[in-house]
């Protein structure tokens, strides 16, 4: 995907926060960078992989990516690792020991918090990891700061031999703004020097490192007090002063240009003296933070009189129109005028699976099989929970479909006695965290049918490569995992492993129906590429012959976005039952000819599209 290119020359560039960090990582002379893709962090590594002179990889999960970065840092080289907020839950096992060993070469861990939940299963505040792991946290407020702070984080990391957390949020990761960039400065790695007392964390060694960690805490706090990353802007309106970090600072400045503000760029450990200094300037202090009331709680414990989530929302993104009314209320001022227009009511437009997505057939089939409890996972196929399939009953965290399915099987109640348990997981997700769950399921004799949807990509984040598709981060050839052999090695019986083409609905239906009846672990592997990656090849498109369409609507249940209803009607059956009819057309210009919708169409009204004249292509549709 990402061929290595010469980096653009230093200049003023319009960069997203992710691109700015990537650029700074390269400029800092980093040698090794690793990540597992996850919104909103993905682009950091994607961009890094295009730069020369460093090693970049997609790891199978965040813990492994951190371990790779740790190894490089132990060897004295600068290294980098990034992840989305939930990724740190996975990586935290390594993090909590890393904080004791520290590093030799600089190590920066960028964590992207999906504040406002654009595509995550929860909202969490990664600043806690700074407290939990006793690590310094930097919080940029825009792309320029993201760039500068990344460079400074490497300096701090090497000065204190401590990894530094760069906490970002969606509004930093994905906002583009101007950045003045520089050039790469090479850093020669010193090579690994054996120091077992420090790098072998057996209890005897670890207990000697813990006091050093606390000593480091104190030194870092002293540094935060004087760091230019934490500064007070005095302002003229002294009624309310603000303490803010990250994008919250921008919203404060926008909303209250004349108010005193303490901006925390180096926000952990909290510089208490600086906070007292601000408090002395103003009548009241409001701490503005996304997401959790974290700093405010620490300040209260210090005896400072400060406000936070008492007046600000506990969830979601902050913005001027959240801050202004809250402060107006605090000051007893009239609320700002309501918005000019009340939103007009329009239907919801939830995300859908792509035209011809190989998962469509799987969910269509699952929606046709009765008596299933379906345990789902993270990825595009989570969309199977939506219309028209409604074929997903749980989704917890990456890889959890396996364990949850086993639990649903073992813990079944009277009501579920005759239900079959199905687990659905994608290829990358399976490699990330699913393998262990499947092993557990086999070992403990579960009765679960696993659908392993191999679409040869991390689909949801944009089709990144993984060990399942035989390409590395640069799109170069790499060893490709054989899923049938892999699940067999985990103990699934040969006769319970099936490879099925997800576009062949009758075979898929038959295989699922048969396997759910067998009271042991089965794995059904579907193997067709995601439509967004280069392995996917379009076929001849289809169209609907108007006068053959009976309006049964079966094809709509497949859920392909290329199928549209032209008109609706009603029909009274011989039995006297009234049924709804929906007549359809196919947007042939986007149909890829996958053939899915053709199969449930009894009157054979869907046929290959025969262009008559270019005019026929004209239809209201994609705006490109």
């Amino acid at each position: 995907m990402a061929a290595v290119m010469p980096a653009p020359a230093a200049s003023r560039l319009l960069l997203s926060g992710n691109e700015a960090v990537a650029r700074a990582v390269w400029e800092a002379g980093v040698k090794v960078a690793a990540a597992y893709p996850g919104t909103p962090s993905t682009e950091m590594l994607e961009v890094i992989s295009t730069y020369p002179d460093l090693y970049a990889e997609w790891s199978v999960n965040e813990k492994v990516s951190l371990e790779v970065a740790i190894g490089a840092a132990y060897a004295g080289s600068r290294s980098f690792c990034c992840m989305k907020h939930v990724g740190m839950n996975v990586a935290s096992d390594a993090l909590m020991t890393l904080t004791l060993t520290g590093v030799i070469g600089g190590l920066v861990i960028a964590i992207a918090d999906d504040v406002g939940l654009s595509s995550s299963q929860n909202e969490q505040d990664s600043r806690y990891w700074g407290r939990f792991a006793h690590l310094p946290v930097f919080e940029p407020a825009d792309s320029q700061e993201a760039h500068a702070m990344t460079l400074q984080a490497y300096e701090l990391s090497e000065q204190f031999q401590v990894p530094v957390i760069l906490r970002m949020t969606t509004r930093i990761n994905h906002v583009k703004s101007l950045v003045t960039t520089g050039e790469r400065v090479a850093h020669a790695g010193a090579g690994f020097k054996k120091e077992p007392g420090r790098f072998v964390m057996v209890p005897g060694n670890a207990c000697k490192r813990i006091p050093l960690m606390f000593k480091r805490d104190g030194e870092l706090r002293a540094l935060a007090e004087t760091s230019p990353l934490n500064f007070i802007e005095h302002g003229s309106d002294r009624r309310v002063g603000f303490i803010a970090s990250g994008p919250a600072y921008m919203h404060v400045k926008e909303s209250f240009p004349n108010a005193p503000v303490l901006k925390l760029g180096f926000s952990c450990p909290v510089p208490f003296e600086k906070c007292r200094e601000l408090a002395a300037l103003v009548d009241q202090v409001v701490v503005v933070e996304e997401v959790e009331p974290l700093i405010v709680t620490e300040l209260k414990a210090q005896g400072l009189k400060v406000l936070g989530k008492e007046i600000l929302p506990l969830q979601g993104e902050l913005s001027p129109n959240v801050l202004k009314p809250a402060i107006a209320r605090l000051l007893g001022e009239p609320l700002p005028a309501p918005q000019a227009v009340v939103p007009l009511q329009v239907f919801p437009r939830p995300p859908t699976m792509c035209v011809a997505c190989p998962h469509l057939g799987v969910y269509y089939t699952l929606s046709q099989v009765r008596n299933l409890n379906i345990s789902g996972d993270i990825g595009c196929y989570t969309l199977g929970a939506g219309h028209p399939w409604n074929a997903l009953d749980t989704c917890v965290s990456m890889g959890a479909s396996m364990g949850v399915a086993l639990g649903m099987d073992k813990g079944r109640g009277e009501a579920d006695k005759d239900k079959r348990v199905v687990a659905v997981i994608g290829d990358s997700t399976f490699l990330h965290m699913g393998m262990q769950g499947l092993l557990d399921m086999v070992y403990n004799k579960g009765n679960v049918t696993v659908l392993l949807l191999d679409n040869r990509a991390v689909g949801m984040t944009g089709g990144q490569d993984n060990p399942g598709n035989g390409r590395d981060i640069h799109g170069d050839e790499a060893p490709r995992v054989d899923f049938a052999k892999l699940v067999s090695a985990l103990g699934v019986k040969e006769e319970r492993i099936h490879k099925v083409n997800p576009y062949e609905l009758p075979v898929l239906f038959k295989t699922i129906r048969e396997e759910v009846k067998v009271p042991e672990v089965s794995v059904i592997i579907t193997d067709q590429p995601c439509v967004l990656i280069k392995d996917y090849h379009k076929l001849k498109p289809f169209e609907v012959i108007d006068d053959r369409c009976t309006g049964c609507g079966n094809c709509i249940d497949v859920g392909c976005p290329a199928i549209h209803v032209t008109r609706r009607g009603k029909e009274v059956k011989a039995s006297g039952k009234e049924v709804d009819l929906a007549f359809v057309r196919i947007e042939s210009s986007v149909c890829t000819g996958c053939g899915l919708c053709v199969q449930p169409c009894a009157p054979k009204a869907i046929v290959h599209y025969a262009p008559v004249s270019p005019i026929k292509l004209v239809s209201k549709g994609c705006g490109a």
């Binding site: 003023r12 319009l14 919104t39 939940l117 654009s118 595509s119 825009d142 509004r171 994905h174 906002v175 583009k176 703004s177 101007l178 994008p247 921008m250 919203h251 400045k253 926008e254 913005s319 001027p320 129109n321 918005q339 000019a340 227009v341 009340v342 939103p343 007009l344 329009v346 239907f347 919801p348 437009r349 939830p350 995300p351 859908t352 699976m353 792509c354 595009c380 969309l383 219309h387 028209p388 949801m460 944009g462 967004l532 709509i556 859920g559 976005p561 199928i563 549209h564 209803v565 609706r568 709804d580 929906a582 210009s589 292509l617 004209v618 209201k620 549709g621 994609c622 705006g623 490109a624």
Partner: protein, 203 residues
């Protein structure tokens, strides 16, 4: 501090909303402005709602446009243009493509697509200019030119010359050959003209 220009570009995933906004941002930067661009797009690639914010001026702080403060709303799709009306400031203007992209939830009969989004916007009292950017692009031979048609449409509603924006559009296609550059030049001009005539008719 609100001398910033706020432009909201809306549509659905896959229409090129983010690219269009980025080109607008490049044009603003070329004029010496500070600029910030952001999206509100959950899983945008999958046909969901996309709204892309552009703010530019001497110094931009918050990247998001506060509801009720957008100067121009560039709508790539009818219902989406309607959905975001509350973002406009009084006197702000909507430039909208009349194309209707009907989502699966409507096909399934769970919700209705508004019969007359343009009429609804007019009823709300906001200024709006509507034109069929999709047809214009198709007539030029490629539906993907719709993006450039939309940029042509906004070109005369910016606080800088249309030519600066055109330059930024064409720069994107320079490596892909003279033919594409020419097609995009035509698409841009067609978008500009379409808004001109639509406005003349409306007046």
């Amino acid at each position: 501090m609100s001398e910033n220009t706020n432009i909201l570009v809306v549509g659905i995933g896959g229409q090129g909303v983010m690219t269009a906004t980025e080109i607008l941002a490049e044009a603003a930067i070329a004029m010496g402005h500070d600029a910030k661009k952001t999206e509100v797009a959950g899983m945008a690639q999958r046909g969901g709602v996309v709204s892309s914010h552009l703010r530019f001026g001497q110094r931009v702080l918050s990247p998001q446009i506060t509801p009720g403060t957008a100067d121009v709303l560039l709508g790539f799709e009818s219902a989406e243009a309607m959905r975001w009306q509350h973002m406009l400031r009084p006197g702000g203007i909507t430039l909208m493509n009349t194309a209707r992209l009907v989502p699966p939830v409507v096909e399934l009969g769970l919700f209705d697509y508004p019969d007359d989004p343009l009429g609804e916007i007019r009823k709300s009292g906001n200024k709006v200019v509507a034109f069929d950017a999709t047809s214009i692009a198709q007539q030029l031979g490629d539906i993907r030119l719709g993006n450039t048609v939309m940029l042509g449409a906004i070109a005369d509603h910016l606080p800088f010359p249309a030519e600066t924006l055109l330059d930024c559009v064409l720069k994107r296609f320079q490596r892909k050959g003279e033919k594409l550059v020419e097609l995009n030049r035509q698409a841009f001009a067609a978008g500009r003209a379409a808004v001109g005539t639509a406005e003349a008719v409306a007046a």
